[in-house]
Each structure stands twice: as C-alpha cells, then as structure tokens.
C-alpha cells in the first residue's frame, strides 16, 4: 500500500455551498518528491490538511502511513510533518528557537512522557541540518520572517516524520536559503521520506524526478512524473497562464 492513499475524497467546510476538494484520488510512495501547483483557491492547502486530518473528509477513503485518517487523525498527525503556510509570532513570544524545534518532538512522544536524550539529539540534528545554530537562544518573535520559516522547518524535521508536507515553505526566504533548503529536502527524500510541497515559485527544485500534481477548483488536473525543469511550464499550461 502507498504511504498516502486517497481514494475519491471530498472535503467541505461548514457553511460552504460546494466541496473544496472533489473526487480526488492520489497515491504517494516512499521517497517521492511531490510538487503541488495550481491557482489560488484550487484546494492545495485543503488537500494537505485533509491528509493529516485537520480538515474533515466528508466522502471517500484516506489512508496515511497505513492509518485511516477519519479514525486516527491524532496518530496520523504524530507521523506527518506539516509546515503551515501562515504564522505570526508576536515579538514577546516567550519561546526560544531551541524550544520551538524541540516542540516538534512533543506530538510523537504522547501524553505524560517527557523528552529523553534521543529527542534532544533529534532536535539538535534538525537545527544543524537547517543551519540555524546561531539562533537557538533567540526568542522566535524577534526573528525575521525567513528565520522563523527555517525554525518551523527544523521543528518538523526534528519530528522525524514519515511524510513531510510543506505549504509554501519558501515564501519568506531569499534565493540562497531556498537553494540550501532544497538540498535539505533532497536529502530527506533520499532517506525515503516523501515530501509534498505546495509552491508558487519553482526555481531551485532539486534535480530528481518530480511527482507533479496540478490542482484546479478542487480537482487534480495533472498527476505525472516530470523533470524539475519542466514543472513551471506544465503548471502554466495546465492553468492556462501565458508564459
């Protein structure tokens, strides 16, 4: 069975007159680098949040990491890393970067269990991998948007997830940081952890086969493998945007 196995799923928000995702099926295996593109309000974020059970699936069957999302959403979220799209931390947020990265382990640990040395080690490895060692003692609210973004990526890497989902992870990052993190993601994929990344900018994608998903109005309109260099053209074509 695929690590992510969605069969004809529908999702809708309360009060919405139409489903946001309609009759969507998707298979993702270990070690795949999935790029999800499409216009605004195509349902890309909703798809990610349906996969980890943050948004309820109204019809269809969703299995993630061998678990039924409808019955075991909490368990699924412990195994799936998810870098959310929008976050805001006020300047007085009393948490350091080190603490925030460590929090990535908390869900996995479960209730009433305290972090052990192996958890601190995982957090330290994530900090080093993302390259934020110089920020560990700073409070997150005092950092720039890009530094906060890197911290949230490290928070999810520390979790050592079985699936990694990233919603516009490069929105606050400069070119160098994007290129560096693409290398980090390539390494994660090489270890067998699939990445699902919603993005609007595709420069610096790693030179590996890309599983490209294009969405429009809640449906998948394109679901094929391609080269990194082809991603932008395919999305433009699918969304009928002139290049």
């Amino acid at each position: 069975m695929s690590l992510i196995d969605l069969k004809s799923i529908y999702t809708a928000y309360e009060g919405g007159d139409k489903p946001v995702i309609k009759d969507l099926s998707l298979d993702v295996d270990r070690g795949e680098y999935v790029v999800i593109g499409g216009p605004n309000s195509a349902g890309k974020t909703t798809l990610l949040e349906s996969i980890n059970g943050l948004v309820k699936i109204t019809h269809g069957q969703a299995n993630v990491c061998g678990l039924n999302v409808a019955c075991s959403a909490d368990e699924v979220r412990k195994r799936v890393g998810y870098v959310i799209q929008n976050f805001f931390f006020d300047p007085f947020t009393p948490f350091t970067v080190e603490q925030v990265v460590m929090m990535g382990r908390y869900g996995r640990l479960g209730l009433l269990k305290h972090p052990e040395q192996s958890d601190y080690d995982a957090a330290q490895r994530a900090i080093e991998l993302v390259g934020i060692e110089d920020l560990v003692h700073k409070t997150i609210g005092t950092l720039s948007g890009g530094q906060q973004q890197k911290t949230m990526i490290a928070h999810n890497i520390a979790k050592e997830p079985e699936v990694m989902m990233l919603d516009e992870p490069f929105s606050n990052l400069d070119f160098y940081a994007r290129e560096y993190l693409q290398g980090v993601f390539k390494e994660i994929v090489r270890k067998g952890v699939p990445i699902l990344m919603v993005a609007h900018a595709f420069d610096g994608l790693p030179d590996i086969p890309i599983h490209l998903i294009v969405m429009n109005r809640g449906r998948i309109t394109y679901d094929m493998s391609c080269r990194a260099s082809e991603v932008e053209d395919i999305i433009r074509k699918e969304c009928k945007v002139k290049g």
């Binding site: 943050l54 909490d74 976050f87 948490f95 908390y106 640990l109 009433l112």
Partner: protein
C-alpha cells in the same frame, strides 16, 4: 498550616486562603494570558457568581452550586466555540452575559419575593469568615494547578506557542484545553469567597502580566507569576489587618500598582541606541 506562626486564627485563615488562591490563579493566568483568553477569568468568575446565586435561591450550598455551574459553563466553552465556529473569546462573552443575567435575575427575584439575597459577599469576597474546609479545598486546587502544569508542561507550552501548530504536531490540544478550562472553573469558584467575583480577574491576569514584563521564557513566567502573586497577596493581607482596610480590593490595587511599575521598568522594551 500557618497557626504556629500566626496566633490570630482569622488572619491566619485569610493569609492561607489568599496564598493558595493567588498561586493557583496566577499559574493558570500565565497560560490564559499567552492564549489570549484573558476574558475566561471574567466569564468563569461570573459563572461562579451565577452558580452561587442559584445555590442560594434553591436553599442549597452556594459554593457547591458555584463550582457545579462554573464547571457546566467550562464544559460549554470548547464545544460551543467549535460548533459555532467562533473565537473562544466571543463564546466567553456570550457565556459571561448569560451568567450575569442568571445571577441578576435570581437576586432581583429573591429581593422581590422578600427573601433578600446579599450579593456583596459574592461580588467582593469575604476573607474574614472562612471555614477550614474552604482552605483545604483551596490548597487542593493549588496543588492540582501545579500538578497540571508539571504533568502537561510540554503540551501546555506547545499550545501556548501556537494552537494550530500544536495540533498539526499531533498534540491532543482539545483534551489539554478542556482540562485547563475545568481547573480554571474550580479555582475561580473556590476563590470566589475570598476575593469575590469582581476581583478574581486581577489574580488571574495581573501576576502573569507583571511576569511577562521581565521574563524571556515561559518556564520563568511559571515561577515568577506565583511568586509575585504570593508576595503581594501576603503583604496585602498583613496591611489589610494592620490598618483595618478591605483585604481583597487592597490586594487588587497593590497588584495593579506593581504592574504599572513593572511596565515602566521593563527592560524588554529598552531600545539599544548605541551606534557601535
């Protein structure tokens, strides 16, 4: 507990009650203030007030009724917010209005019926006439609050950081949030007799706000807020009895004064103007 140190039983009981209440409320206040749920103190205190009015109206134990009604309101906050898709603050405002309406309705009705219900003890508290059992109950709730923070520290800190990120991490946010609401309900209901429904808000919000002016991490806030609350409350009880002043309002004023000073002195707001 403090009898060997303080000869006067009334002062001793007042001090013990104030210490336990201020520690419990200030610890919970740290969580509440970070989650932008400050109005929970206001709502829960008025729920306890309404519960006490129901208890008196039915001729039962006002405090037991206050706890029961507060817990019922606490049980409603989460599900109503989820169901109505409203911010918890809006739900709190609705439940506050409902609680206040129940309390005023019953008090007015009893006055009209000639039964005469004095609301002043519930509104302003009465530290002088406390029973030993009430102090034991407050000590228990104080221990419960400390225990809650120690046991669920990692979940609480993640929720205080960001609720959505905590949920996405696989933390059982709702479970911890609902337990928190219940402990607040019990703490507020039991503290009602001491500082009253109107001033309990001060114990919940002000010590945490003072601590936030100086603390850079949440762990130190959990230590600083109860220490501030305890020191000011103990001083307030001593000063109240020494100079024959109303204890609860005095403590509230002292805490507000300390808050004002802490805002002026806070080094967190200092801007480095050095060029080199």
């Amino acid at each position: 507990m403090l009898e060997p140190l303080i000869q006067n039983n009334v002062v001793c009981h007042a001090l013990e009650a104030m210490i336990f209440s201020s520690i419990a409320c200030s610890i919970l206040g740290v969580i509440i203030s970070r989650m932008n749920l400050s109005s929970i103190g206001f709502t829960m205190s008025h729920a306890a007030f309404a519960g006490a009015a129901i208890g008196m109206f039915l001729g039962g134990n006002a405090q037991v009724a206050a706890i029961a009604f507060s817990m019922a309101v606490a049980a409603l906050i989460g599900p109503v917010s989820d169901k109505a898709k409203m911010a918890a603050d809006a739900t709190l405002a609705v439940l506050f209005a409902m609680s206040m309406a129940v309390a005023i309705f019953l008090i007015s009705y009893m006055e009209y019926m000639g039964k005469g219900l004095s609301a002043s003890a519930l509104l302003f508290g009465d530290v002088i006439s406390l029973y030993r059992e009430e102090i034991y109950a407050l000590a228990s709730v104080c221990i419960l609050s400390i225990f809650f923070v120690l046991v669920f520290y990692k979940e609480i800190s993640a929720i205080m950081f960001n609720m959505k990120i905590a949920e996405a991490s696989g933390i059982r946010v709702k479970l911890v949030y609902y337990i928190l609401l219940f402990i607040i309900a019990i703490s507020v209901a039991l503290s009602l007799n001491i500082v009253g429904g109107l001033l309990i808000f001060v114990l919940l919000v002000t010590p945490a706000s003072i601590a936030s002016q100086f603390c850079f991490n949440v762990r130190s806030m959990f230590v600083a807020a109860p220490l501030i609350a305890l020191s000011v409350s103990a001083f307030g009880v001593w000063a109240g009895f020494e100079f024959t002043l109303p204890v609860a309002p005095l403590v509230a004023l002292l805490l507000t004064g300390v808050f004002a000073i802490s805002v002026m002195l806070s080094f967190k707001r200092r801007i480095n103007t050095k060029i080199h």
